[in-house]
């Protein structure tokens, strides 16, 4: 038994808190979580039943926290966890769980299975049983500040591009600005139009905002791999930068897990409340619209639907703003079945999309989303998460569908009234 594996088991033991114990005690083995998981529904493989993915932690819980388990262990009737258990379960814990939270929604006894998976990942990552892609991304996030290796220099190069294209000055390290904006590396690398869009929207709305040169990255690989220390370090960088700049708000971008980590997990990770508030970009856009700070001209007639990013909607609670915004710029917005908090995952969250070995399973799981899209009968899919967008496009190409995916903030920016004269006409 390796020392690292022993550390992993010890960590897994530490993660079994009162909630985990009560969840395992409460499970009635109904199997409803299976029907809520797209990895199970699209493969029919019972190994992908969410609660089954927790067997290693359950075994440890039973041996350490139940009389029956303790006796079984003492009399040699129950073997301790072996390295092979971790090796066998690694795929189930990482590749076949996007931490989308749909299983937690349907559990009749209220078990938050997603929370349990996150805890189990803490033990697995400590033991070294995590996908190589996630390990490397976490290392880069800690050493460079971005899981994709985006440095301040590369961000600045993109900002120069954005400034030339918009004619707007992008504020960096603006002391006392109201809002500090974060980006996911994906937006810097693949979707610079998101940055352009918010620059244009904020300019039109007169928002006082800034980017921090010390912390611009929104994503948190520590959350995905299951390493609270790393996750806390990444959150701390944002908190320190925001508090140094004296901003009132930090804006989480179109990235699912970034919102969960900075808005919901962050204060617990660093052990104190923030001196600022966190808002999701969709919440802010909706607020600006409600205040009349931004106005729109015209609507697209193109029928379109919305894919709900799990971490923003189901786990994050941002459900209505995107719909209100969409209805402001689209005349034919069609909801998917199971939309909103019960929407199905794209299949690539929770670090799954960063792991090449998970691709085949991810494409299989995408079949659920394919069916949802086809049922709507529309060819334009809007979403608000850069990772969802990539995963959806991958699945669409794999299935040779005609669907096009666009980002919500960009769509909003396309219909923004920016000219003072046009503003008065709209009024």
């Amino acid at each position: 038994m390796s020392e690292q594996f022993e550390q992993g088991v010890a960590e897994l033991g530490k993660q079994i808190d009162a909630k985990i114990s009560s969840y395992f005690s409460s499970c009635v083995h109904c199997g409803l979580c299976a029907e809520a998981c797209l990895f199970y529904t699209e493969t029919g493989d019972p190994r992908y039943t969410p609660i089954y993915k927790l067997e290693p932690m359950k075994k440890l819980w039973r041996q350490e926290h139940t009389i029956r388990g303790k006796l079984a262990k003492a009399f040699g009737l129950s073997k301790p966890l072996q390295e092979q258990d971790f090796a066998d379960w690694e795929e189930l814990v990482y590749d076949s769980c996007t931490m989308c939270g749909r299983c937690s929604m349907v559990c009749p006894v209220g078990n938050d299975i997603t929370y349990m998976i996150a805890k189990e990942r803490e033990g697995f990552s400590r033991a070294g049983y995590a996908p190589d892609g996630l390990k490397a991304a976490t290392k880069r996030a800690l050493e460079i500040g971005s899981p994709m290796g985006v440095t301040l220099k590369t961000l600045m190069a993109t900002l120069v591009h954005v400034e030339k294209n918009t004619g707007l000055k992008i504020p960096v390290d603006q002391q006392g600005a109201d809002y500090m904006t974060l980006f996911s590396s994906m937006e810097v690398v693949n979707f610079p139009e998101y940055i352009e869009s918010i620059a244009r929207i904020f300019d039109a709305a007169g928002v006082s905002w800034t980017i921090s040169s010390k912390a611009f990255e929104a994503t948190n690989s520590g959350i995905q791999i299951g390493n609270s220390e790393n996750a806390a370090e990444i959150v701390s960088r944002v908190v320190t930068a925001a508090e140094e700049l004296g901003v009132k708000y930090v804006i989480s971008p179109e990235c699912g897990h970034a919102y969960t980590s900075i808005r919901w997990d962050g204060p617990n990770l660093i052990g104190r409340p923030y001196a600022f508030k966190v808002v999701h970009i969709l919440e802010l856009l909706e607020q600006l619209k409600q205040e009349g700070s931004i106005k729109f001209s015209g609507k697209t007639d193109e029928p379109l639907t919305f894919h709900d990013p799990c971490q923003i909607v189901r786990r994050g609670g941002v459900v209505k703003p995107q719909r209100d915004l969409l209805n402001s710029v689209a005349a034919n917005f069609v909801e998917m079945t199971d939309h909103g908090v019960m929407n199905w995952c794209c299949g690539g969250g929770g670090g799954v999309s960063s792991s090449e070995r998970a691709d085949a399973l991810r494409f299989k799981a995408f079949d659920r989303k394919r069916k949802q899209i086809e049922e709507t009968g529309v060819d334009t899919l809007v979403t608000a998460c850069a990772n969802c967008r990539m995963v959806l496009e991958d699945g669409i190409e794999e299935n040779e569908m005609e669907t096009t995916v666009i980002g919500l903030t960009e769509l909003i920016a396309d219909y923004l009234v920016t000219d003072a004269k046009e503003q008065s006409e709209v009024r």
Partner: protein, 151 residues
């Protein structure tokens, strides 16, 4: 004689072009950064865009191939970004918008998507080369437009 040297005039000039002309000038923009992408599907899209006699079927096929090339060349979430590959991605994206049949490119302004993607490709190439010089792809595009309008 056209002497465009800023983006305001450049955009205005683009707006005056018809669909065939936009494809032709788009081919010129993509050609200028085509050395950053080795994918034959992208080169093929440029050839089709240049051909005024290209049929709707040819354009659709070129668009679909270029779109697949665009998705194939992206950096996946969480992966270490290779800026040379990312430059190639933006060239593919430009080529896709360049040959997209009407209504198939969802960008608000498809010709501008071509312009921007080419500029972003050059940006990525400079990052890959650790080159601090200013990205002057916009200047190159103004020249291409002037040459086109003056020809």
């Amino acid at each position: 004689m056209s002497t465009i040297n800023d983006d305001t005039e450049f955009r205005r000039a683009l707006k005056k072009l018809d669909r065939d002309q936009l494809r032709e000038i788009g081919a010129g923009f993509v050609q200028n950064v085509l050395h950053l992408n080795k994918d034959k599907r992208v080169a093929r899209a440029v050839d089709v865009a240049r051909n005024r006699d290209a049929s709707d079927d040819e354009l659709l096929a070129a668009y679909k191939a270029a779109r697949v090339a665009t998705v194939d060349s992206r950096t996946r979430c969480g992966a270490d970004c290779n800026w040379e590959e990312q430059a190639a991605h933006f060239v593919a994206r430009a080529s896709s918008a360049m040959v997209a049949p009407e209504g198939m490119c969802k960008a608000a302004d498809p010709p501008w998507q071509v312009v921007m993607s080419c500029r972003m490709a050059q940006n990525c190439a400079l990052i890959a080369a650790d080159d601090d010089s200013i990205n002057d792809e916009s200047g190159n595009q103004h020249h291409i437009m002037n040459d086109y309008l003056n020809s």
